[in-house]
């Protein structure tokens, strides 16, 4: 018996893989940690339940094991609610219940047919780590991206070392079976599908520091969050992207995108070396004279150069006076000019311009609160954009001396912890009546105002916890009593809130390299992306601009949002993305410095100069 409620929740899983990292200190899903296949994590179980509901997989030995391995510990509910507001526990319960009922009623466990490729893979790397059980393969067959159709792989394989990757490639070649690599067993942009083998690098989790050489050797299965956490233990930092994304996959695939690109660069700037297994199963590294030239860039769809099995990632020093601040703006033009100025003046270790949608979504633990926060930030306070900066005390002093209003970390904390009260009628009334010739945010950003804001919003972890369901209130109150949860610098390093942008709806990012010295071009592109989405009635918003290379270039993200379970929305977004692609091609053919990210796929190791200035 399928529960409609559980099915609905399962359908909404965004595949952000946040249940595969311990980003809230709750501990990790025990079954997932032990068994490594995504199928054993809450994300995989959601897919399995969806497949059972759609009657596309039978009850197999693997499925029974997956269902029984769940301890119903409740960690997934906390983790998933934090990002998407979903409560996967209902699905976990229902999956167990479904299997138990099936077995109680004498349902047969369907035997998975033997596959010679799987048998040989099992011999090579261990029986447990290669399988064609549909309960597992189905969890590697699809993702929320509306641009590519799902494909069920023939088998999934989890190597633990470079030599095992070599063996897998050779077996695949022997049987002429295609293969793809899925970092962390996830994919949200729909480009990692196959009917052949999926190689999941989740078991390759080695992290070895080489402090004298300021680098860390990272296995292909290490996530950005885990690596940053380890680097921080040494008082150091790495430039990594989304917390659940795998570092090696990110480097190789499209290069690292983060606000730290501003100081640490992108592409080849991120790593010292990387090792690959090529399509013949042979190993090469990038510091090898005979190695393929991965530092080049060409505007074309490029084939995967090999499977990146490890990378030596650069380590960066931190200072003990680092602070995160936000500089609010009411227009995109002003914000772009300021972003470029900071970068050109080498101010800030991390710099990024974000829109009101990101800001309100990131700081809010629920969708409803995010909508209210956006309304107040943009309409009442006039903060349409904000430049986020992480810097040392000299950076912060410089910015203050530039005469800009600054949302200090203390004010940021007060706003987050008082967010549920920000819509209080009386408080809003007071704010609205304050509107005069001065921008409202300029008044509220004064340091002297913070004590008043704190008392008006009654800022505290308990106040913030009011916004979440009763059974999670205590958890949230404890969570937000931890200073890092409201620390702009920490949040930028670990980026645990950025996946919230997909909470209301899944997102499809339009990512373009742009010339930051031409703000008019960026604004025109921004307007054209918006017009296209508006035409199709698709939710859309400005995302972010991260300056690169002293403000000469930048990475620009604009986002389209869709309900990935709604066929009509999928049709609309397919058309919209095609049109937006044409806009990017138009600008890239007329304006130097405009480059579409689609051509950097599989070219992430390139020198940034080859990408940005050719």
């Amino acid at each position: 018996m399928i529960s409609e409620e559980a099915k609905k929740i399962a359908n909404q899983c965004r595949h952000y893989a946040m249940c595969k990292i311990d980003y809230l200190g709750t501990g990790l899903c025990v079954a997932g940690k032990e068994n490594h296949y995504v199928s054993y994590y809450p994300q995989g179980r959601m897919d399995i339940y969806k497949a059972l509901a759609n009657n596309t997989i039978p009850v197999t030995k693997g499925l029974v094991d997956i269902a029984h391995s769940c301890t119903l510990c409740g960690i997934c509910d906390k983790q998933c609610h934090f990002i998407t507001e979903l409560r996967p526990m209902k699905v976990m319960h229902e999956l167990k219940k479904y299997v138990d009922n099936y077995l109680e009623k004498g349902g047969a466990i369907v035997e998975v047919p033997s596959d010679p490729v799987v048998v040989e893979l099992q011999k090579a790397i261990g029986e447990k780590w290669a399988t064609n059980d549909p309960a597992i393969t189905v969890t590697y067959s699809d993702d929320p991206c509306p641009l590519s159709p799902a494909q069920l792989p023939r088998a999934v394989v989890l190597p633990s070392s470079q030599s095992e990757v070599q063996k897998i490639v050779k077996i695949a070649n022997k049987y002429n079976v295609p293969y793809v690599v899925r970092g962390n067993g996830m994919s949200v942009i729909g480009v990692v599908y196959t009917t052949g083998l999926v190689i999941d690098t989740n078991r390759m989790k080695s992290i070895e520091f080489d402090l004298d050489n300021w680098c860390v050797h990272v296995g292909a299965g290490v996530s950005a969050f885990d690596l940053q956490k380890e680097a921080n233990k040494h008082g150091l930092r790495v430039n990594v992207s989304e917390p659940s994304a795998l570092v090696c996959a990110n480097i190789m695939c499209s290069g690292i995108f983060s606000l730290f690109n501003s100081a640490y660069g992108t592409g080849a700037d991120t790593y010292v070396n990387a090792e690959f297994v090529d399509d013949k199963g042979e190993v090469f590294n990038l510091n090898q004279i005979s190695a393929p030239n991965l530092s080049s860039y060409t505007k074309a769809d490029v084939k995967l150069p090999g499977i990146c099995t490890s990378a030596s990632v650069k380590l960066h020093p931190m200072t003990d006076d680092e602070e995160g601040i936000l500089i609010p703006f009411s227009t995109l033009n002003e914000a772009l000019l300021f972003t470029r100025e900071l970068s050109a003046r080498r101010i800030g270790i991390a710099v990024g311009l974000i829109g009101g949608e990101y800001l309100s979504t990131f700081i809010s633990p629920t969708k409803e609160l995010a909508l209210n926060a956006k309304k107040i930030l943009t309409e009442t306070l006039g903060i349409q954009f904000a430049v986020a900066v992480v810097g040392d005390k000299y950076d912060v002093e410089s910015i203050r001396s530039m005469g800009k209003s600054v949302i200090s970390n203390r004010l940021f904390r007060s706003l987050i912890l008082g967010l549920p009260n920000i819509i209080d009628d009386e408080w809003l009334d007071i704010l609205n009546n304050l509107k005069g010739n001065q921008k409202l945010y300029e008044i509220l950003c004064k340091e002297e105002m913070i004590p008043l804001i704190e008392v008006a919003l009654n800022s505290s972890p308990e106040t913030l916890a009011k916004a979440v369901p009763n059974d999670l209130k205590e958890f949230y109150a404890n969570l937000y009593s931890r200073p890092e949860m409201t620390d702009i610098a920490w949040l930028n390093m670990f980026r645990i809130v950025s996946a919230r942008m997909g909470r209301e709806k899944h997102f499809v990012p339009l990512i373009v390299y742009v010339p930051l010295d031409k703000p008019d071009v960026i604004q025109k592109m921004n307007e054209e992306f918006k017009n296209i989405a508006d035409k199709y009635d698709i939710k859309n918003d400005f995302g972010t601009i991260v300056p690169l290379d002293l403000g000469k270039r930048a990475i620009f993200e604009y986002d389209y949002y869709i309900d990935h379970t709604d066929k009509k929305e999928i049709e609309k977004i397919q058309k919209a993305v095609m049109e937006a692609g044409a806009v990017i091609e138009k600008y890239s053919s007329t304006t130097k410095g405009v480059k579409w990210i689609r051509y950097t796929l599989n070219q992430g190791c390139c020198r940034k100069e080859n990408l940005l200035y050719t």
């Binding site: 009628d425 009386e426 009334d429 007071i430 009546n433 304050l434 509107k435 005069g436 010739n437 001065q438 008044i443 004064k446 002297e448 105002m449 913070i450 004590p451 008043l452 704190e454 008392v455 008006a456 009654n458």
Partner: protein, 403 residues
């Protein structure tokens, strides 16, 4: 002139035969004038903009409900849907023709009272272009008299005596003053060229009804009081429920008698004062002048006894059981940095500062000559009136409980 003095007097001797077009009838002063005109027996025509939720008539009906207008008077009222900022006032052709043929006098109250520079375009659109459109309409119609609601603060940044005349002013405190000044110039010139009689009325700051306390626009005098009350309640709650940790940081305390101490210094200028009149005086004065003045003129609707800031502060302290609020001079204020309460309060009253320390002495001889005949006098803002007005504001949650 379109009508001689004698003809105007004859016409006005029978109120029921006069059709008066009123603009700005959903505004504070405009609505009060409409109701007064209806109650006085005139036929009243209104041009009102519809909004998303309400038709033009529904908008005015909501206001008349608040006034508890006698339903019989609706027979003397006609509401037309239109927009003053648009050519031909965006009236349909039938309405346009009807009004052209039937309007005798026009009372122009429509105005944007926005002070902020960011709203310049919007304010000019209403106060200058809207005025131009209604004047053009007046020219085409049979209208023989135009009553223009202006403000005493067309005086701008001049100081001292300000007469009931068109005086050259070139420096203003805000866009409202500037556009109203330009409006006066335009309307004077236009009416003279087209033979239309003209009265210009210049009220100072208008607050609620001094007899009932009733009001539905809670700005000017009300904003600062509302802010102080908000701050008082905020810290009172902090003291009573959270042991006052935040209050302590801000220097806010509560005495054993329950008095809340709010450390707020407000700058007062030595010669400044606040010239405020109640709406009932404003309307009574307007109607008396409207009927008596047939040769045109400019009339200050002001008080001869403006209040000092200290007086209002005393009223606030007494009514709300508050201590600590002080009117100080600039030197005193600069002795120590402003706290958050002062920054908030200062920002609040920033736009109203010119009216809190208003340096003008408004001559009102023209108005007084007529008003004394009618025994109409501006009541001083006593504590009792202040209390009545604020109690009403609190009862209706500063307008939130109204329409």
């Amino acid at each position: 002139m379109r009508l001689s003095t004698k003809e105007i007097l004859e016409k006005r001797s029978n109120r029921t035969s006069i059709n008066i077009l009123v603009t700005g009838a959903t505004g504070f002063i405009g609505s009060h004038i409409c109701v007064k005109l209806l109650e006085s027996g005139y036929n009243v025509f209104l041009i009102i903009r519809k909004n998303r939720e309400q038709t033009a008539f529904e908008r005015f009906k909501a206001i008349t409900d608040w006034f508890e207008l006698d339903p019989i008077l609706f027979s003397k009222l006609k509401v037309f849907e239109g927009e003053l900022e648009e050519p031909s006032l965006n009236l349909n052709s039938a309405d346009h023709d009807f009004l052209l043929k039937n309007v005798d006098e026009i009372v122009h109250c429509a105005a944007s009272t926005c002070f902020t520079e960011q709203k310049r375009e919007e304010t000019e659109k209403v106060n200058i272009f809207g005025l131009g459109n209604i004047l053009e309409f007046a020219k085409q119609s049979r209208c023989y008299y135009f009553h223009h609601m202006s403000t005493a603060f067309v005086a701008g940044k001049t100081e001292g005596v300000f007469k009931e005349a068109i005086v050259d002013v070139d420096n203003f405190n805000n866009i409202y003053e500037e556009t109203k000044y330009l409006g006066e110039r335009a309307v004077s010139d236009f009416c003279r060229r087209n033979g239309i009689g003209l009265n210009i009325y210049r009220p100072s700051i208008v607050y609620g009804n001094s007899e009932t306390g009733k009001n539905f626009r809670f700005n000017a005098l009300y904003f600062p009081v509302k802010t102080i009350l908000f701050l008082k309640n905020l810290y009172k709650k902090d003291i009573e429920k959270n042991k006052g940790a935040n209050a302590q940081k801000m220097g806010v305390t509560k005495s054993s008698e329950g008095m809340i101490f709010l450390p707020i210094r407000i700058v007062q200028s030595k010669n400044g004062h606040m010239n405020m009149i109640p709406i009932n005086y404003c309307v009574d004065a307007f109607c008396a002048i409207m009927e008596d003045s047939v040769n045109g003129g400019i009339f200050h609707l002001v008080t001869r006894d403006p209040e000092k800031l200290e007086t209002i502060i005393e009223y606030i302290k007494r009514m709300f059981n508050i201590e600590g609020i002080r009117a100080v001079d600039v030197d005193e204020l600069n002795k120590s940095p402003k706290n958050a309460l002062e920054i908030l309060f200062d920002t609040y009253i920033d736009l109203y500062k010119p009216y809190i320390k208003d340096p003008h002495i408004f001559v009102d001889d023209n108005a007084k000559e007529i008003l004394s005949r009618h025994h109409i006098q501006c009541p001083p803002l006593t504590y009792e009136i202040f209390e009545k007005c604020m109690n009403y504001a609190i009862d209706v949650n500063w307008g939130k409980k109204l329409f």
